[in-house]
Amino acid sequence: MAKIHMDHISRVEGHGALTVELDGNTVRDVKLNYFEGMRGFESLVLGRPYQEIPPIISRICAICSAGHSITAHMSVEKAMGIKVTPQTELLRELAFLGMMVESHSLHVFCLVLPDFFGYAGVADMAAKYEEEIALGLRVKKAGNLVQEAIGGRAIHNVNLTVGGLGKLPTLPQLKELRQELQKSLVEMEAVVDLVAGLTIPEYEGEPILFKAVRPTTDCYGFFGDTVLFSDGQEFPADQYTASFQETESEYSNAKPSTRDGEAFMVGALARINLFGDRLTGKAQEALAKLAIPVPSTNPLYNSVAQVVEIIYALERSIAICDHFLEEGIKPEGPVEYKVQAGTGIVATEVPRGTLYHAFSFDNNGRVTAADVITPTALNQASVEKEIALLAKSQIDIGEEQLKFRFEQLVRAYDPCISCSVHLIRLA
């Protein structure tokens, strides 16, 4: 029996290893091992005051820290019955969109594109494709500028608080942001052309079961109250324990999930499959041009879906800036609230897919129970399933080629291993 082992998957966030066991032409076993150290967030949050929860939880992962921070704020507020103002909601959405642009750009330009051009990373690729990389970095920077303006820091924001924001952005700040966002939106046209010209490697796949939060409005978006599977099953976010099952893994520090034994995929490709028909403007045009086959059978299109979402996030950010430039910023502080006991369960769509936060508090606002489920953990069973399908259909290409294709496939899911192993579960 042949065994293909890769002890450190590169160009992903965190530490992961892959072992594929082959018996002739049969795939015996696929083990994806996320061996990032456990940072023990569970013992960290227990008993800590509610205001500290978002900044602590933010440290699960830097790349999507705004997503963790905002989702944690929403969970605290839901638990205590705190209703923030529409202005706060919009400003938070803006910070969230900045994260989407930054995270997707990092993945597409720095981690994925080098594969398609035959390079080991941006450093090598920049020697010949300096303009392409520089363009990608400019778009990424626009995302970070948004996060800095609203969050006070690009990674682990300091300005978002329970009930509102510490300091409000000024109109000149928003005007400048809008200009930068607009520049990036124009630059993304060249990116769409570049990506449209790439050949996405195929293998004999199967229809993928997708899952994503249904946006609250009829528009595309990342916030909502229910979670939809592509076969039509839909669950309220707070009934997540009924919508999929987590399993303990003997070999990985993350817990893979299935729905009744069936793997499912979350992330940009899932959102495009489920709600891509709601896109408008340049994002809609990009989707048409990039010709992502829907329903998708090939997870490698996730990076292409991320390109579409960068454009969506830029357009939506510009719309939010325009709203404030027309209506002005109300000089309001965080809303008044009463600290009280309760549980808040929230699902959002962060760059890599559905993120669940569930926190319970006692009357003094101290944490009594916590549960965080991250997209990378949700995706683990799907990655293993697709690796098996890929190995089965491409077994003849030789070990070196197979290794490359495996790594490329894992990377397409944009795993964030720091996130996945920092599961927090307290009864």
């Binding site: 023990g40 900044p55 930054e102 990092l106 990424k140 300091v158 300091k167």
Partner: protein
């Protein structure tokens, strides 16, 4: 030393925020990559020749055997080891969780850049000092100094547990400049002024434990029970 310094960038148990801070230097990244001989950066690069290094940057705390193995290996190959981020410098959140230790508990560290995450400016200054063959300078002042220069209203004086007088400067007093109390994410200042912070907060009914509990979030091994800097 080869013409370009041989650099390695490593993550132990971490959130990757300090490595990401380098990738967030969008305006400077290509110039940096050009000025150094990058021998290892697994987060961003596939082919990593490793081997002897002039400078290794290490992020994250030691929480498991594989962290320790990597750290020991890196130390044996590197001329200078630079700890980046509060997790690596003080143990950070993993220390509070009872699982992590600062890297200086295991190997000799030549320079530390604290922050959660580190500040771009400090990273770039360190890189340019190293490129000139110098060691970077440690910032001697606490967050309070930067806060006073910015003429912020003092939150401590209003009865909020602000850790600015106890925390290493360099962030430009980000939090108090947004009206939010400093949580001490950069770890202990060289000379923390604990007595005075405690006296002010006592007027508002806070106990020393309240302050130490807040400091414990990021400072890991950095404070004694008396609020003095350790290490």
């Amino acid at each position: 030393m080869s013409a370009k310094p041989r650099i390695g960038i490593y993550g132990l148990t971490s959130c990757a925020g300090d490595q990401l801070t380098l990738l967030n230097c969008e305006d400077e990244l290509l110039a940096i990559l050009d000025a150094v001989d990058l021998r290892s950066f697994v987060m961003a690069h596939s082919a990593n020749p490793e081997g002897e290094l002039d400078v290794a940057f290490v992020e994250g705390a030691v929480t498991q055997q594989s962290d320790l193995d990597l750290l020991t290996d890196v130390r044996s190959r590197a001329g200078l080891v630079i700890a980046i981020g509060t997790c690596a410098v003080w143990g950070g959140l993993p220390y509070l969780a009872g699982k992590g230790t600062a890297i200086s508990q295991h190997i000799q560290v030549d320079f530390s850049i604290p922050g959660c995450p580190i500040e771009k400016s400090q990273l770039l200054n360190a890189l340019s000092a190293l490129l000139h063959g110098d060691l970077p300078l440690e910032l001697p002042y606490p967050v309070c100094l930067e806060c006073t220069i910015r003429e912020n209203n003092c939150l401590l004086q209003r009865g909020e547990i602000c850790c600015g007088s106890l925390t290493a400067g360099g962030c430009g007093a980000r939090c108090p400049s947004h009206g939010v109390a400093c949580m001490g994410c950069r770890g202990s200042a060289l000379d923390p002024n604990y007595q005075s912070a405690q006296q002010i907060l006592a007027k508002y009914g806070y106990t020393p434990e309240d302050i130490l509990q807040r400091l414990a979030l990021f400072s890991g091994e950095g404070f004694s029970k008396e609020g003095e800097r350790v290490g």
